[in-house]
Symmetry: C2
Subunit: 311 residues, 2 copies
Amino acid sequence: MSDSRVANIVDGSARTLAHAISQVENDAPDAESLLEAIYSHTGSAYRLGITGPPGAGKSTLVNELTIRYRQADEKVGIITVDPSSPFSGGAILGDRLRMGRHYLDDQVFIRSMATRGNHGGLARRSQEVGDLLDAAGFTIIIFETVGVGQAELDVMQAVDTTLVVLVPESGDDIQLMKAGIIEIADVFAINKADRDGAGQLHHLIDQMLTHKEPAGAWQTPVVETSAARGEGIDDLYQQLQRHHNFLSESGGKEHKRLDREKLRVQDQVASVLAGRFWTPERRIMLDSLLGSASPYQLARDIVMAGTVDGK
Amino acid sequence: MSDSRVANIVDGSARTLAHAISQVENDAPDAESLLEAIYSHTGSAYRLGITGPPGAGKSTLVNELTIRYRQADEKVGIITVDPSSPFSGGAILGDRLRMGRHYLDDQVFIRSMATRGNHGGLARRSQEVGDLLDAAGFTIIIFETVGVGQAELDVMQAVDTTLVVLVPESGDDIQLMKAGIIEIADVFAINKADRDGAGQLHHLIDQMLTHKEPAGAWQTPVVETSAARGEGIDDLYQQLQRHHNFLSESGGKEHKRLDREKLRVQDQVASVLAGRFWTPERRIMLDSLLGSASPYQLARDIVMAGTVDGK
């Protein structure tokens, strides 16, 4: 890894950064050494996750919040994670267009990520891109997800603050997803709150929150917004700042960072072990045995065959 | 594993089956040996996956299709997979209520599954429950997902036929998710097709399908339905049967089964390797080193420390 490349990223070269992100996305051979080299420059950014059903207006909210963060002189990185495009990938042009106002601001960096056929790897990769932005001096990193499935929740597990955005129409669905949604939310926004049913949804969330196990002294606030009209955004921004301060003061931010790293070490170990294990011989063995016994038996047989010395 | 338990499942004891499913869901100590014992009784069921955005009417379609399958004297297992409830889990009562008509039919078995905190394990576990139903003589196993995220797509990767259900309102979203949706769909249903925009969506899907790489000689059909009115269901049922026949005749069904098993052997090997690797000593080592170097470095250090003899 050339030191100049790390230096360029840390100095804020947008071009080097964009290239580095592409390498991480594509699992390029030297992506890992690059991530390792920038590691000592990471850890200071605040990571905000925004999730909610499609059509909840998340992008518009991200746009409005970005305006506030920029007014506070923060440097904002935005990563839009789209786990529903797993097979061919490619960035979502639409988000860039919607973010047009910020697209010309060099203190705002916007990137959309799709799965590109790497099942389960999107959450990890989006974190790695977050690390690159962190090293490049972005002080706020916003992870915006499309949808509320498992992969999105995995992304949310790696942020400091999770904002869940719902709309009055989400009332019916929230029953289905209540457990996950209530647990992960640090802050709720009811967007498009000028529509019918906002009060009802607010009441429903409040009720569900009474059953939530408290994370320290934090009480999950519910904010009504209308992002398209610019209403409620200042309140939402304040609540997010409050949670950020709460985390910093309670030591929760450092705790979350170490939790993130622990998972990454474990993932990395699993990948090292699998890489060592699946030699060409074992792959051939698997193909030839497939269907001859249960997957459990085959797994045992193949592991045993590779450990004749009892290791 | 007692032989009588396996015999009871194969003989169709609903009570033994329900208990076995709970054990799989809870990762009970002898779940694996049970799955292994029933393995030789699996492989004949047809696995149908149904996915699509919330509110597309998937449950109503499942209900209508179940009526057809029952008329054809099939024994139908229905597994509703809900990856958006990862933290507390629990079955979705609503689905059972909606399926009320079939709930009293002992040739129909309905089960809802949530993630229960096992990240990434839901797809595997739902397959294992599918195996139990397969061994119990269910000839059609329907996997219905809530939403269209990564976890849902993982579930779909393990079925014979994937039905993607959209509604006219999905037109806006489909642009966002087109790659994944188009690739996985063997059959499309445009449900609630009496609403505005159905023709437009149909046209859009047809256009996107022209770019799809064909899977053998199969052309993905697009069927307009109105499940609530019972319209188009016979056509949809015919298309699903056609795909089933296509798979059986082309050898695709056996091919898919072996692909599924390959992934399961690999998962199982990874779990065996991780189980062996993460000794109490290494866990302590990880905790003590956390934060002292990059996750990549730590992973290498811990792997190296465990392999002093070069293994």
